[in-house]
């Protein structure tokens, strides 16, 4: 038993729903109690889908237990088959149905339905949402895909995008464009956008592009072995990764990796002088493994940040994330306990967080700017405009997204220059955020119902005191670096055995930490 306040991932059957909802002509019959239907609103509200997820829940109740939950399943399955006429049916159980052991897979297979029935065994008490999506897609592919004649032209499949995925919709477009520039057309995009018939002809492609290892890797490995489809290992998020990806595709296909990159702006924007202030910004990175790892490379090599911490919540990606962290001289944080992530961020006191919606809230509480790079998703992560993460346009989007929460370069300079000006006082905050600093104004999209603690500015040690001159001097430092200045000074004082912090201590510490 483990106490959980917020979770990064839902249960595995929600992962199966992400596969089913992304597809058409497929139906998922889920043996589940009433109440589990809440999952529908993830798709209809967060993703604003205009149709119900293709899921039938048996919604058994206490009075059904021990009498006829099995019949209830059969009726629901038969009704769903007749009403929706799918090309294939997925059947499975949610956490509660797993306990009553009705064997939905066995029952459905014996019903004599005229379409393929794919039974899912998703262990709800061990695994989570990403596993559920990956396993479901793998089972679908294994059941339906067979070796078929290759297309005459060079084609690939885009593997991994699902419903409720972080920018999957736009990544598909961006990659299709890039590949088309190289002369590769797309055979099938799956699971999102495909039908069971499309799954059958996956083998017609020449190779697979594995967009999201979290949700597509098991299927990609199976197709490599059983259908002879090699798959790409580089996830093209960021400029460097996109170029590596193009080279990888070039090696597989023999086509030239040179494509039109005139729309790519990140490198110049990053090099232009307004971005000087980004140099060495201390960032903490957390998300799913794929997005965290790609973000680390962009942060260090393309934005000039200093990565001070990196981690992921999906244990399946622990190994590569640990290896990457090591290459950055860091130890990876692998946890799905958001309180632990919060503690880690508090200790590292980074200047910026690249995280999920959870870390955005942590950042809000601690007064640290945060840009969202990964699922779990929020209605904000489905913007109406085109905003991919992958490819060249993805790099542009990432530059804008990451810089937005920060005070802009010229503005930071002005804040230093006019720090005594009444309009540039502590309460002002970045001018493009409506005039209020993040920690003071909870944003309207996510109402804080609990009082926020705000930025803790108490001394780390009770024996340490700030002399009033030093305190005044500290207040002259712009608010967005004041917390760091205070912590640095106190840490420095602690190492020097200084009990009373004076103006001199403050500036000695500043010199000590200068970079």
């Amino acid at each position: 038993m483990k106490l959980t306040v917020w979770t990064y991932e839902g249960p595995p059957h929600v992962g199966a729903m992400r596969v089913a909802t992304g597809m058409t002509n497929l139906h998922y019959v889920l043996h589940a109690p009433q109440g589990d239907t809440y999952a529908d609103l993830l798709f209809t509200m967060i993703e604003r889908r205009n149709h119900r997820p293709p899921v039938t829940y048996t919604t058994f109740q206490a009075r059904d237990l021990g009498s006829d939950t099995a019949n209830l399943f059969k009726t629901a399955c038969q009704d769903a088959y007749e009403r929706f006429k799918p090309e294939a049916i997925l059947v499975g159980a949610s956490c509660t149905a797993e306990l009553i052991q009705d064997d939905p897979g066995g029952m459905a297979e014996n019903m004599g339905l005229e379409v393929p029935v794919i039974a899912l065994e998703l262990p709800s008490y061990q695994r989570k949402e990403n596993y559920g999506a990956d396993e479901t897609f793998f089972q679908l592919v294994r059941a339906l895909a067979r070796p078929v004649e290759k297309t005459a032209q060079i084609t690939c499949n885009l593997i991994g995008p699902t419903a409720l995925g972080f920018r999957h919709r736009d990544d598909i477009d961006e990659l299709s464009g890039l590949l088309s520039d190289m002369g590769v057309s797309v055979n099938v995009v799956a699971p999102m956008g495909s039908t069971p018939s499309d799954i059958k002809r996956l083998g017609a492609a020449h190779f697979n592009v594995l967009m999201y290892p979290e949700t597509g890797e098991t299927a990609a490995r199976w197709m490599e072995r059983d259908l002879g489809l090699p798959y790409t290992k580089v996830v093209p998020i960021g400029v460097g990764a996109t170029r590596d990806f193009l080279n990888e595709v070039s090696q597989i296909t023999g086509l030239s990796p040179v494509v039109d990159d005139t729309r790519l702006r990140l490198p110049w924007y990053s090099a232009s002088v307004d971005s000087t202030y980004l140099t060495g910004k201390r960032v903490f990175i957390f998300g799913d493994g794929t997005h965290a790892m790609t973000a680390a490379r962009i942060a260090r090599d393309e934005m000039g940040f200093e990565v001070v911490g990196i981690g992921c919540y999906n244990r399946e990606m622990a190994r590569p994330v640990r290896a990457l962290a090591k290459s950055f001289g860091l130890e990876a944080l692998i946890t799905d306990d958001y309180l632990e992530v919060e503690r880690c961020i508090e200790n590292l006191s980074p200047e910026m967080i690249l995280g999920t919606q959870m870390e955005r809230h942590i950042g809000k509480r601690l007064g640290i700017p945060c840009a969202v790079i990964s699922a779990p998703v929020h209605v904000q992560d489905f913007p109406s405009r085109y905003s991919p993460q992958m490819g060249f346009e993805g790099a542009n989007v990432i530059f804008d997204t990451w810089v937005h929460p920060l005070v802009m370069g010229l503005e930071e300079h002005l804040l230093h220059m006019f720090r005594d000006d009444f309009e540039f006082n502590d309460e002002a905050g970045p001018s493009h955020h409506g005039g209020h600093a993040a920690q003071r104004a909870p944003s309207v999209d996510s109402v804080d119902l609990e009082p926020t603690k705000g930025l803790e500015l108490q001394s780390q040690s009770l024996e340490m005191t700030w002399l009033s001159d030093a305190e005044k001097e500290l207040k002259k430092i712009p608010f967005f670096v004041r917390g760091k200045a205070r912590r640095n000074t106190e840490t420095y004082a602690l190492t020097q055995g200084v009990k009373k912090i004076s103006v001199d201590t403050l500036y000695e510490a500043k010199a000590h930490y200068a970079r």
Binding site: K2, T7, P11, D40, M45, N50, A62, E450
Partner: protein, 424 residues
């Protein structure tokens, strides 16, 4: 004043269907209960699905540390039950040591904990002894196999009734969680009439000891409190059936039932209600310009459907096509059913696919439904009001009557405001 209709819905046949029910489970009630009871912690003993539901149903993330959490059962807990009790003790100890401000702890049962028959009553008893007197530990079920949405609040309140102190004093007990501002308005109305001995269940903290006994008269502000109703009757309290306090007329009727019971004179009653009732009527009339003559269809959600349909039909001039409720407790919603003229289909329970067929055939002007159905129906050209907002928003009594009408009129005004060209 509202008049009960000789040809009302109270004897109309109830359509009962059995199929997929598109409803929340009782755990969802924790979202507002934990706000209302500020020294209580709700510990769900369940699965990852329960935790995911709580964070998704809130629609917003309630940041900082919320006063609820899920003890997620793992493979090892499922193997042996003695083990699970120990594990629970450990998690509770951790929780209470981190949150010394907690005075009431609710162990909340879920579908998996009920299926494996994890005895939370036993755990609550043991833990109560361990942490008495600083923390009281109770248990109730919020599982989907036992409860639908607001029935979680019912189970929670019912779990508190047996431990309320006995009192022989004549008093009014009002049951149902209301936002503080609304509760204060209600208390002011009652005390202006001269009724000062008013207790509310749930109280905002364990300090405000609610008592019950033979001379307790109770009235509900929420229609979904059937179990609490029975539990109070078992303690000797007497129920005052009344229409629910929605709108100008519903509020007046509710107050009137209490005034009559407490022997308040007509003059006094009129003196107290006339001004707020006039304000409420005015506010409703503004919003109901859009609603009047329009049809409404309720999907089952919170059990508020019948009282709300009564408000829309009797006070806003709407026609009901179907009023679906997850469960109909005639002892509680009977007075509202009496006030709805015959005509609409009254349905209990659900087969969502069949109900969707009906709504698409009827094409009502306004459909009140859950979040899972709202956008899909909007995409088919229907105008919808998501039902959960009716539970989360202050809607009771005179001063909220206009807001309540506004919740229903806004989707219609919005549809009219958006130009068809832009939408197409």
């Amino acid at each position: 004043m509202l008049k009960s209709n000789p040809t009302s819905c109270s004897n109309a046949p109830i359509l009962k269907e059995r199929g997929q029910r598109e409803v929340f489970c009782g755990l969802t009630s924790i979202i507002w209960l934990h706000r209302k009871m500020q020294d209580a912690f709700f510990l769900v003993v369940g699965s990852r699905t329960c935790a995911h539901l709580l964070q998704s149903a809130a629609g917003v993330m309630i940041f900082a540390e919320p006063r609820f959490g899920t003890a997620i059962l793992e493979e090892t807990d499922l193997a042996g039950l003695a083990d699970a009790q120990q594990e629970l003790d450990r998690e509770v100890e951790r929780l209470l040591s981190r949150r010394p401000d907690i005075r009431q702890l609710f162990l909340v049962g879920s579908c998996p904990s009920e299926v494996i028959k994890l005895d939370l009553a036993k755990a609550a008893q043991r833990l109560s002894q361990l942490y008495a007197p600083s923390v009281r530990v109770l248990n109730f079920t919020g599982s989907g196999i036992e409860t639908t949405f607001t029935q979680g609040e019912d189970e929670c309140l019912a779990s508190m009734v047996p431990v309320l102190n006995e009192s022989g004093q004549k008093q009014l007990l009002v049951i149902g969680a209301l936002p503080d501002v609304v509760e204060d308005q209600m208390r002011n109305l009652l005390s202006a009439m001269g009724i000062n001995d008013v207790a509310v269940l749930p109280a905002t903290s364990a300090k405000h000891a609610v008592t019950v006994g033979k001379n307790t008269i109770f009235v509900a502000t929420q229609p979904f409190l059937g179990e609490t109703h029975s539990a109070l009757e078992r303690r000797g309290a007497r129920h005052l059936p009344a229409p629910f306090p929605f709108g100008a007329e519903g509020t007046t009727a509710w107050l009137n039932v209490i005034a009559t019971e407490f022997g308040i004179s007509n003059e006094r009653f009129e003196q107290v209600v006339s001004a707020p009732r006039a304000r409420a009527r005015k506010a409703i009339s503004q919003a109901s310009e859009v609603l009047s003559g329009k049809s409404v269809f309720f999907f089952p959600d919170s059990q508020l459907e019948i009282p709300l349909a009564r408000f829309l039909v009797a006070e806003c001039g709407m026609t009901a096509i179907e009023i679906g409720a997850p469960f109909i407790h005639k002892g509680l919603v009977g007075p509202d059913l009496d006030l709805i003229p015959e005509g609409p289909v009254i349905s209990e329970g659900q087969d969502v696919d069949l109900q969707l067929d009906r709504v698409l055939k009827a094409r009502p002007d306004l459909t009140v439904c859950g979040l899972g159905l709202a956008n899909p129906l909007e995409a088919k050209g229907l105008t919808t009001k998501w039902a959960i907002e009716l539970v989360f928003t202050p809607v009771h009594f005179y001063e909220q009557a206009g807001d309540l009408a506004g919740l229903f009129s806004r989707p219609l005004r919005r549809r009219a405001a958006l130009s068809r060209e832009a939408a197409a």
